[in-house]
Symmetry: C2
Subunit: 334 residues, 2 copies
């Protein structure tokens, strides 16, 4: 592999994404992406007693589904890279504790899915692994309870707020396969522009997405038009507009081929989700469900996927801190 420019790695023998899987909750099942997901749940509990246990079950079953669909024996998977939004990433560690695959816990907030694919693809290309598993999850109820207010309070949500996606996305990367290939990764820096409003994550994360996007273009020499689709993870409507505007200030016009998973997953008018979807599973399910199939069917052939994360917790907000953002990008090509 070669390092390009400041922070991009180009793979000589790019890993293939051999399979993905996605399971989502009932609200996502009513959204415009529903038909692309492997499984839609009827309720937020899925037979479990708590939301946290439900989230663990969702990531567990999504991972099992990805392994099963791939046809790769689970003991041929060398490493698992996974993480989630719950304190100490318990959704992943409890959900995947029976997996019996060496496990790297990853925390990138909502950027976790692409962070895990960045790490996994370096392991594949280097020969450290033949097959790796990358997974993440989020759950509206467990996230609201932890980051904001008890759901029972019925707090009003401001227009900039986003709706945490209930679901899980998983991908299996392999040294051998016919693509789609991860050709480049551009891991991001932490960027904090001083946004303090925990109900406006799009604004907090957009500067990090901007930094990674521009760095990717500068490092690779590519222009926005190179890609059939440039897709961010969960900037939502507010953050998407900010990123488009910021990109223009550097001379990059992404208006014709840019979209955001948080914008795509819900119907803004019918579903009352304000600025759109968020959560680790937003990018995880929309990529695994929708974009991966578009790549497989060659409806698109080149995608730049940029997952964004807000690296804060409720204590940091209570202590008056701003919200640091991060964004990791991968180029996926047929």
């Amino acid at each position: 592999m070669n390092k390009l420019g400041k922070q991009t790695i180009k793979f000589d023998a790019p890993p293939t994404i051999v399979q993905t899987a996605s399971i989502v909750g009932p609200k996502e099942a009513q959204g415009p992406m529903a038909k692309y997901f492997d499984q839609c749940l009827d309720d937020e509990f899925w037979g479990e007693k708590t939301w946290e246990k439900a989230e663990s079950k969702i990531i567990k079953e999504t991972v099992n589904m990805a392994v099963s669909k791939s046809g790769i024996a689970s003991n041929d998977i060398d490493f698992c890279f996974a993480g989630d939004l719950l304190n100490q990433c318990i959704s992943s560690s409890f959900g995947l504790r029976e997996l019996n695959i060496p496990f790297f816990g990853v925390f990138g907030a909502c950027s976790t899915f692409v962070e895990s694919m960045c790490l996994g693809s370096v392991f594949i290309e280097s020969g450290a692994a033949k097959n790796v598993l990358c997974a993440t999850s989020s759950h509206f109820c467990s996230a609201e309870k932890q980051f904001r207010f008890p759901l029972e309070l019925g707090n009003q949500r401001p227009p900039t707020s986003q709706w945490t996606v209930t679901g899980s996305g998983a991908a299996i990367l392999s040294a051998t396969g016919q693509g789609p290939y991860i050709t480049h990764i551009t891991p991001g820096k932490i960027v904090d522009m001083g946004i303090k409003d925990a109900n406006n994550m799009g604004a907090a994360m957009a500067p990090a997405a901007f930094d990674t996007l521009i760095t990717h273009f500068e490092d690779t020499g590519r222009k926005p038009s190179y890609y059939d689709a440039i897709v961010t993870g969960d900037l939502g409507y507010v953050g998407k507009d900010i990123l488009s505007d910021l990109a223009k200030t550097k001379g990059y016009n992404i208006s014709s081929n840019y979209n955001d998973c948080g914008v795509l997953i819900f119907d803004k008018l019918k579903q009352d989700t304000h600025s759109g979807g968020s959560g680790c599973a937003c990018c995880g399910t929309v990529f695994s469900g929708y974009f991966y199939k578009q790549l497989q069917e060659k409806k698109i052939n080149k995608i730049l996927l940029i997952a964004t994360g807000a690296l804060m917790n409720s204590t940091s907000s209570q202590q008056g801190e701003s919200i640091p953002g991060i964004a990791h990008a991968i180029a996926i090509e047929n």
Copy 2:
């Protein structure tokens, strides 16, 4: 690099640990390891208003110290791998937000330091990076408040309980250097033997350490006597005894060269720390402070470092869950 056996990677051009740094709190400053740390603090706040902000300052200053001591310009460091125990790893993300180095957030609970070195060394050996930074932190006050009870309650601690180390350890790995080298990594699986007592982390984590230890020996063909020191991260007195006993059941006697950072960092009789130290910084500071210098001075030449983590949070314990453990091992040799 080559995969050995089930889950060990052997490096052909092993990365050098070119420098480490460690900063600890006032209790650690009164313990038997004090003289090996780079800096000992007088109080738990270090001029900050909250424990969380103090912990962020500790990791920030430790990382700055490691970079400064190494003589490597910070813009020659390609990636940073870091994580901690606070919810959503805010110590790392706030402490390192001004670092301006592409950042991979890692969560392995108290195994984070070695997990980050596993990831970093694969990045180095593969050519994805020339220099990487690995760091972690923990803080007694922020951890107690988050995982157990408000400190003001003055709860009595059972004999199996451990004392979270206040401090931070950081290491810089490089493709070039004269050693000590990371020659092998054995990333661990999640192991859950059903322990539910959140005041007995040693017992919860020892089975994971056992699994990784035995796997390392089987994968490499090495015996305990190959190493000058076999060192676990924070099993404490209780977990250390369990691991020694478990190892014997598989025919491996580690009694003569095995120790634990949680046993080493505090004076059991004088410091009232019961089963010993714990926390990400336990392994992080004792390795960075003590063992790294022992390796540099060639007082020891071969060490197997196994950091252990308990992948739980307070919600999982309240919901009646057991405590999954994990252990990651690295072999470091002159």
